[in-house]
Symmetry: C2
Subunit: 351 residues, 2 copies
DNA sequence: TTGTATGCGTTATCAT
DNA sequence: ATGATAACGCATACAA
């Protein structure tokens, strides 16, 4: 029977000590067999320890290991919202990469509150993780930015690694994807299809990456010879509902004039799509729609959404690599993002 | 300056001892102020400790606390796949509920491998969590079921709580939703709309909850007076692709005869939808479609999908409650699931 | 009320 | 190669 007897009805968890005793060896020897790296234990002992551990159902006490070793096998990940397909995909990729090298990922969510990031980092630091990866949306001018930087620096000073994803505004290891270039190329392709009079839906909440997407798109249009005045940029609420409400608030004349709506996320693009349909417009016959992120669970929306694809697995791989590799100099790797033209933006007829 | 000086360039994390020293009090006093519950520390000391902690940027070492207390403030959650909208929604709800009472959720994924569950539970047990919630899909006849049960029992014996979600096959605290009743009601409503000749797509991998959904649907049809012979049940691969491939493999005659496809998940329903469209069928004019789960990110699918809604927040709340409350008797709570008729299953014309 | 001493389960440093 | 012993950071029983 496993589990040692305790005071009450609950048993004490099986410890290394129990295993060692059962195997008739010292506790450090049991440790060397079960957890240690440099194997220099006699085969006979080895087997006995392994057998005893199996018999008793021994599981190493991770907190104890973390304390003894001074470091855990955990990576802390901060994201905005786990139910958001973009972030859940990101989290999934990071977990995959981390688990491949035997690391556990501890997820914390900000729920989109800018100032929660600081609190979370503080809490996470208490878990003694190997690294902290900040993948949440980076705000343009967060209220407590300096405190966050201080907190992260403090963490780095104790040997922790800090990796930022998609927010190259802070002095830490950064993995970015090319928001600007991605939407710039998208704009060029769309211009090539004949689209000229575009409505750009940015983010009402000031987010760095979203801003870049807007800039890139506008740049791409200008480079393609689309008259500056043809492009209208607005910043509704950063959500499906925000985009929908905005297109519903447009005047009939404004909508009639439009050939395309580009929203900085797929989510918003679909909100715009819903709003336009409510107004009786046909998509893509009357107006084209494009987004950004290439969220895979949207494969079933009709028409298929033109968007910008980001290689999340590459981002995750790079992030985990940086999170686990001690590198002297600070680097910023940018993962490419490229447009994917689908049915929501067919070539314009007169083109 | 914060962070004590270490041997090399890295500083040692600030400990309670550092804080106590800085405040000129003993370490237990600092502990009582910062972490302890029963406040019986002189106000003057209290302030000095708080001040010192703030100054030094103290964060409690969670592993150390866990070891000293013998229990952590963590709930371990096992799910199948984090990128699956159903599971990410579930995880989000559980995290929300847990955080509301100051608990952290540690997520582990099986990647849909039936036997990984056992390994994960073993690993998770090492984290000394308060509770383990198994929300991953329950297989009908998992290879290592007895071992899993043993492992979970062992965990319970050491004071841990075990909660199962949507798999009432094992002898533990269970929160279920009414798969059978949900699809039974759905079938009755659809029969009421005139649907009679139905294709039911179950799950090729033997999953308990999915089996119940099939049974419930068939029961509902029979109760509604739909001839038994009219219903065809099949079990393609448990995925979008599985459902799509299956409907593509049907003969033209088989498809022509169909009035409705009910798939046991929204994901599969959309796969079937995609496949049917590839065959040139119009949805819902030529054939109706219904799913199960009511995944919110599918709001943009056209036509809007008829499905069975599950109150995930209620499930999560119940699960976290059970995970944190010591209750003598074993209980199985069932959260209702109810059909939501949408545009993908309009009333049949001749009806 | 406050401080001293001890223990949590593990790893690491030492003798042996 | 193996075992005794000292950390790790914190909480707690106990003494003051």
């Amino acid at each position: 029977m496993n589990g040692m007897l305790g005071d009450s009805g609950v048993r004490r968890p099986v410890t290394l000590d129990d295993v060692a005793r059962a195997a008739g060896v010292s506790q450090p020897t049991a440790s060397r067999v079960l957890n240690g790296s440099s194997r220099k234990v006699a085969e006979s002992y080895r087997e006995r320890v392994l057998e005893a551990a199996r018999e008793l159902g021994y599981t190493p006490n991770l907190p104890a290991q973390a304390m003894a070793r001074g470091t855990s096998r955990t990576i802390a990940l901060v994201i905005s919202l786990i139910s958001d397909p973009y972030f859940s995909a990101m989290a999934a990729e990071i977990m995959k990469q981390a688990e491949a090298i035997g690391l556990h990922v501890s997820i914390a969510v900000t729920e989109r509150q800018a100032d929660r990031e600081l609190d979370l980092v503080r809490e996470l630091r208490g878990q003694q993780p190997r690294a902290i990866i900040l993948a949440g949306t980076g705000y343009v001018d967060p209220p407590s930015e300096q405190q966050l930087v201080d907190e992260l620096h403090r963490y780095e000073e104790t040997g922790g690694r800090v990796v930022l994803i998609s927010r190259s505004d802070l002095p830490f290891e950064t993995v970015d994807f090319d928001n600007h270039e991605g939407s710039r190329q998208l704009a060029r392709e769309l211009a090539g299809l004949g689209y000229e009079r575009c409505l750009v839906l940015g983010s009402g909440t000031p987010l760095l990456s979203m801003r870049r997407r807007v800039e890139g798109f506008v740049t791409g249009l200008v480079e393609s010879g689309v008259a500056d005045a043809a492009t209208r940029v607005h910043h509704p609420g950063f959500s499906w509902a925000g985009a929908r409400d905005f297109v519903l608030s447009l005047t009939e004349a404004e909508v009639r004039d439009l050939q395309l709506v580009f929203a900085v996320t797929d989510d918003m693009a679909l909100g715009a799509l819903a709003g336009l349909r409510e107004r009786g417009l046909r998509i893509p016959e009357d107006i084209g729609i494009a987004g950004f992120d290439d969220i895979s669970t949207l494969r079933d929306v009709v028409p298929k959404l033109t968007t910008v694809h980001v290689a999340l697995n590459a981002v995750a791989q790079e992030a985990v690599y940086r999170a686990t590799t001690t590198d002297a100099e600070l680097t910023r790797r940018t993962v490419p993002a490229y447009p994917v033209i689908r049915a929501s933006t067919p070539p314009l007829p007169q083109h």
